[in-house]
Symmetry: C2
Subunit: 460 residues, 2 copies
């Protein structure tokens, strides 16, 4: 990289933590003003160039000939600062820069919508192009970056192959009405591809074909839902992680989920200390303890059937759910899942072996003919966070199930994977944005995505 670009905040902090930052060293930085106050004799700029979460304090002296000019530099303006390092071990910030010169690079207009005060999340969402400059989003998007990288590191260190499964697909994996159509010319909607093209809702079917060539693989990319749900947890576009492992069963899958989650959470705690402290203080008190608890707990495994029995026992014992009608075969609601993980297990728990009727067609039928080899991971304060399963590797069982559901069209290739050296395999899906909400304590999915897309909302 060029030697001529200016030093960054990040480099200064890294040098400081390495005990290599020297008192009196002359530096030139370029970045933005996060605050500027002065008392006539001395002025202070909270300076941030975006390379590091923490600000650097710039001090300018009343004796500087341009003092008045510096004192009038505006919040949000881009500046170049030259000065010398002063180590301040006794102060809140470990070092500051005593400015010899400050040059205005780009002024900030009076109508700047982002002001040095608390704005509502709604307001900030409306200025999505500026909100990364606000502390909360500075923290959240840094954690988003680190979490994404942690995911790649985990898989790459273990020999998993990253597969870019296609986003435009002819497979309407979840049935009509939930998918977006991809159309070049609205007057001739199927002309371009000579097919009904949709945006993918999952890369799983495609990535299975790669697991049966490369053993351990993963996708990590955008997926879409045309669901008209205006909730804090639904977005029309979001990122998913979908690993798939061959020569592996449900137990291996759960081992993988546990190892993976612990690794990426630890990676974020280790590499986003300042950002996580911010989340812990301002977004969710105790979020770091919550995450450390996950790291230090062996995830329990419990069948769906056991789960139902425990819920029925709770109801008998007087516990009131909104839905108190607990029966084998029901789809658990969030309150039930949270009861199991928060009240019964008091920690992460895999619920396994769900009734086949409430799970997807590709899940492996258990010998009982009633349940499938699926698992949902439930965690305290959240509920379900990961869904996985062993896949049906028996050609006859799979085609029977698909015919029963009427979705055997266009999936010959998927079926054929069972005929051509098929083997037991498993995988899981994890919504990246929801995981980021869980890790940061952010309550609305719109506030963990750079430019959220939801029904009725497509600004920018």
């Amino acid at each position: 990289m060029s030697q001529k670009r200016s030093l960054t905040n990040r480099q200064l902090f890294l040098e400081f933590y390495d005990s290599k930052l020297e008192e009196g060293k002359e530096v030139t930085l370029e970045g933005w003003i996060r605050a500027n106050r002065d008392n006539g004799n001395v002025g202070f700029i909270a300076f941030n160039d975006g390379s590091y979460f923490k600000n650097t304090q710039i001090v300018y002296d009343g004796n500087n000939k341009d003092y008045e000019q510096y004192a009038h530099l505006k919040y949000g303006a881009a500046i170049q600062v030259t000065g010398t390092i002063k180590l301040t071990p006794e102060a809140k910030q470990p070092f500051e820069i005593h400015a010899t010169n400050i040059t205005l690079l780009g002024d900030c207009s009076e109508d700047y919508p982002l002001q040095k005060k608390r704005h509502s999340y709604e307001f900030l969402r409306d200025i999505a192009y500026l909100r990364p400059r606000a502390n909360t989003f500075n923290a959240v998007f840094r954690i988003r970056n680190t979490l994404a990288y942690a995911i790649h590191r985990y898989f790459q260190e273990r020999g998993f192959m990253y597969v870019h499964t296609p986003l435009i697909t002819a497979n309407d994996a979840e049935g009509a009405g939930q998918v977006f159509h991809v159309i070049a010319d609205p007057k001739h909607p199927t002309d371009f591809f000579n097919a009904n093209a949709c945006l993918t809702v999952s890369g799983q079917l495609h990535v299975e074909s790669f697991a049966l060539a490369f053993r351990d693989v993963y996708t990590f990319g955008p997926t879409f839902r045309a669901e008209n749900s205006n909730t804090t947890r639904h977005a029309s576009e979001f990122w998913m992680i979908e690993p798939e492992i061959a020569f592996a069963d449900l137990e291996d899958d759960m081992d993988l989920i546990e190892s993976f989650l612990k690794y990426i959470i630890k990676y974020v705690l280790d590499n986003c200390k300042d950002e996580m402290e911010f989340c812990n203080t301002f977004l969710e008190k105790g979020v770091i303890d919550k995450l450390n608890h996950v790291l230090n707990t062996t995830f329990r495994r419990m069948t769906y059937t056991e789960g139902i029995e425990l819920l029925q026992k709770a109801v008998k014992g007087g516990h009131k759910f909104e839905n108190n009608d607990i029966y084998w075969g029901m789809d658990l609601q969030s309150e039930h899942e949270r009861y199991l993980t928060e009240q019964v297990v008091k920690g992460p728990v895999f619920l396994t072996d769900y009734p086949k009727e409430i799970k997807a067609f590709y899940m492996k039928l258990n010998p009982d003919n009633k349940t499938v080899a699926a698992c949902d991971l439930l965690v305290p304060s959240e509920g379900e966070i990961v869904g996985g399963s062993q896949r049906e590797e028996d050609y006859e069982k799979l085609i029977a199930k698909m015919k029963e559901l009427g979705n055997d069209k266009g999936l010959d290739w998927y079926l054929n994977l069972r005929k051509y050296g098929g083997c037991k395999h498993a995988g899981f899906g994890l919504g990246f944005d929801r995981l980021l909400m869980y890790i940061t304590g952010i309550q609305n999915i719109r506030d963990v995505q750079p430019y959220p897309r939801t029904p009725g909302s497509l600004k920018y």
Copy 2:
């Protein structure tokens, strides 16, 4: 990760390269048969579990009671092998496994379309769900994985923030007719988002807003073109890398491009030795030398104007281009670009400062008022591979240009970035799939993508 999953080919090779693989060690592997031949006394299976590019040789003995059964195991079948390691330093493969037991896990049906012979690329494209098992695609998709990871490593090691720019967008950045529309209900095409939604053609405008908060950022994700081009270099869906750096000009941008390209090419050469040897032998003779030449050359920088003069000189000197009409202001064609990089420079060259009329609206106008601060990187045997520019940071110049082109609607926010602490910034775009073609020697973009999408083609 689980201790109970079987050992992998990869682990054996890594142990071998670490000189830790012990003669006589008992191992159990699970994977697929790539070849099986026997002479009645001894049999050999070329075995691959997908974890490593190279096969492992399995030897089974005529004295084994199940010899006949082993000898009939089919190409493509999934097996479990237990046996002992025999080091074979004198042979082509550094070790083999003497099988004590082989169990069939998943048979391969007689109609298996992938056979142990050379298939045409066209045929393999038609069985995209099986072709990762073929040697060429085994190599190419491994390199694809490593190249993608190299990209993240490069940026993360340097403090760049990864930004997931949205794929569904209201900005039709390249004008109508080239974009796909995203429609929930074809009868009411704009109802879902209450806007005309398209698939993105570039994340640049969105990522600029993040560069002006985080300094150094990048996107790496899918982009789309609804272009009806049936060529070997066009796909409807492909991945792009788009970094954006603040407090940086065109020189910084070119420094970044050169450093970035050298890093990721070196990373692939270092980490995909076997795969690149395969490419060098079977896909493009000399491809490794070609890449090493790029690594060992300082990229030249030359203005577009100089380039035109050199081309005009070439024509005067008798060189015949298909298009010999060379004039200042023309858009260079591939033959012109290749002449400059292959014949004149004999190495990578940045062409800079293009006529403003042939470049995008957001590029910085140079003081000459005629050219913009853009660069294209040209490389031998390929031509243009990267396009970058410094962005126009002057609000008045940018809005004048946008009004001139009639695309100032809906981009107030983009303009505002120039009013609110704007600063010089630059970036580039690199098509990931074309880069992968360049690195592997693959000639058709359909053969570097897991499931290619092109006009008229949406199988799978």
